[in-house]
């Protein structure tokens, strides 16, 4: 779903605020997808929006605002990549990843069918596994601490995490099959 911006003149404060408010969540999710690191994603999104703010003051973008923002984000990501060897994407795969992401999620600010499917699939997961996922993604305590909390060994935790995620992936893919092949 596109968000066309008609003007090519600089935008006013209120227009910019509305635009940013509408786009920042979608932008963050995309950046989170390519960076796989919430804090890095936050920084990249912030930097992207600062650049976008500056540009929007001078001249509004033409075309799809989401695409325009993702373009800025990709450039910021590339700059970050030079600083961190741990980034998982290079130039080539970044474009492929964006294409994949847009196909699966639509890249909109609204909740995507993917997220709806994920929520439903999570309901099907075993309670213990769901608790494990919740601890992992809300507190991010690290493998050792998480394994101690759950009373299992680290290899057992890794194995359980892997099995649960595989299960979730299959479930979500099944539920979004029409979107995936569409």
């Amino acid at each position: 779903m596109n968000n066309p911006v008609q003007t090519t003149d600089g935008l006013g404060e209120s227009a910019i605020s509305a635009l940013i408010a509408a786009q920042q969540a979608a932008l963050f999710r995309f950046v989170l997808f390519i960076s796989q690191d919430p804090s890095l994603a936050e920084d990249i999104t912030q930097e992207t929006l600062i650049i976008a703010l500056d540009k929007l003051h001078r001249q509004g973008p033409e075309g799809d605002i989401g695409k325009w923002l993702r373009g800025i984000a990709r450039n910021v990501f590339r700059r970050q990549k030079a600083k961190s060897r741990l980034l998982l994407m290079d130039e080539e795969t970044l474009e492929m990843a964006e294409e994949f992401y847009l196909k699966r999620t639509g890249g909109t600010a609204e909740e995507s069918p993917y997220m709806t499917a994920l929520k439903k699939c999570l309901q099907l997961v075993d309670n213990k596994d769901r608790e494990m996922l919740e601890l992992r993604y809300t507190q991010n305590p690290g493998r050792e601490a998480l394994s101690q909390t759950l009373g299992i060994s680290v290899p057992a935790l890794e194995s359980r995490m892997k099995r649960t995620k595989n299960q979730l992936k299959k479930c979500v893919e099944k539920r979004t099959a029409s979107l995936n092949h569409g």
């Binding site: 940013i20 408010a21 920042q24 969540a25 932008l27 963050f28 999710r29 989170l32 997808f33 390519i34 796989q36 919430p38 994603a41 936050e42 920084d43 999104t45 912030q46 930097e47 929006l49 600062i50 703010l53 060897r85 741990l86 998982l88 994407m89 290079d90 080539e92 795969t93 492929m96 990843a97 994949f100 992401y101 699966r104 999620t105 993917y114 997220m115 994920l118 929520k119 999570l122 996922l133 919740e134 993604y137 809300t138 493998r143 890794e158 995490m161 892997k162 995620k165 595989n166 979730l168 992936k169 979500v172 893919e173």
Partner: protein
């Protein structure tokens, strides 16, 4: 390691360098990349589901913006500081003499081990009022202990040219009791000032000298050092120490060196007064 395990290791940030290289290589493969992207999407989806969200930090205090601003401010302060240090280094790297000549400032106290070096570069000294008290000639043969007036001892002076702040004056003392007065400048420059009085017994023992070295530090502290080449002993007297046999330092800035006693009365002596101001 199968692809699925590799993907989990990578996404759990649990992979080593070689696995990371393998990951980047495999991502070029369409099938693998789809699988990898699916898990990446799941990871980011789980993060979002469990609360990861972005809140735009207002333009007043966005973290990166502020970080950049602090960085720039820090860098500016550092540059200014470095500039000051550099200028100071360039300025103070000049030899003390050059500074003296260029800005006519009082040089800082020189450490003792630099004395011989700095003596050559000192600015022209203020001519020292130098006055030898008139000498009353000996009544008879000019030798032997005299009962002459101590205020008016006999002296015959020969003056060497003051050379770059070095004031030397050798005075022949034929015999007798001698009192020599040097008026010191009231405003001694900060730093060290040496007033050296040397006695030479030319005929009896040419090697025998005795040096009285008066040291001014910052124009106030004084130290009188005697060195006797015979005994190799160095005696140090503080400002208030009293050795009337050899000297007297008055509070008004006059140095009176009085040679009295048996050893000094029957020979010709030369007295070398040397002032060096650093």
């Amino acid at each position: 390691m199968d692809n699925n395990t590799l993907i989990h290791k990578i996404l759990n940030r649990n992979a080593d360098e070689s696995e990371l290289r393998q990951w980047h290589e495999l991502l070029k493969n369409e099938e693998f990349s789809k699988e990898a992207f699916s898990f990446m999407l799941l990871e980011s989806g789980l993060s979002v589901h469990y609360g990861a969200e972005f809140k735009f930090r207002t333009s007043k205090t966005p973290a990166l913006f502020m970080r950049r601003r602090f960085f720039l401010a820090g860098a500016a302060i550092l540059l200014v500081g470095l500039g000051i240090v550099l200028i100071a280094k360039i300025f103070f790297a000049q030899p003390p003499a050059a500074i003296n000549r260029s800005i006519n400032m009082v040089p800082p106290p020189a450490p003792p081990w630099q004395l011989s070096v700095t003596a050559e570069t000192i600015p022209p000294a203020v001519p020292m009022p130098f006055r030898a008290a008139p000498y009353n000639p000996p009544a008879s043969n000019g030798l032997g202990k005299q009962g002459g007036n101590s205020e008016g001892g006999n002296a015959e002076g020969e003056t060497k040219n003051p050379d770059a702040g070095l004031l030397e004056q050798a005075i022949r003392i034929f015999s007798g009791q001698f009192k020599f007065t040097v008026r010191l400048p009231k405003n001694l420059p900060n730093g060290f000032s040496f007033l050296t009085a040397k006695r030479f017994p030319p005929s009896q023992n040419p090697d025998k000298t005795e040096t009285a070295l008066l040291v001014y530090i910052n124009g106030s502290k004084q130290l009188l050092i005697f060195e006797d080449t015979d005994t190799k002993k160095t005696r140090t007297k503080s400002k208030n120490a009293s050795d009337e046999k050899y000297w007297h330092q008055s509070v008004s800035g006059e140095l009176r060196i009085t040679f009295v006693g048996a050893g000094f009365s029957d020979a010709e002596w030369r007295l070398l007064i040397k002032q060096t101001i650093f």
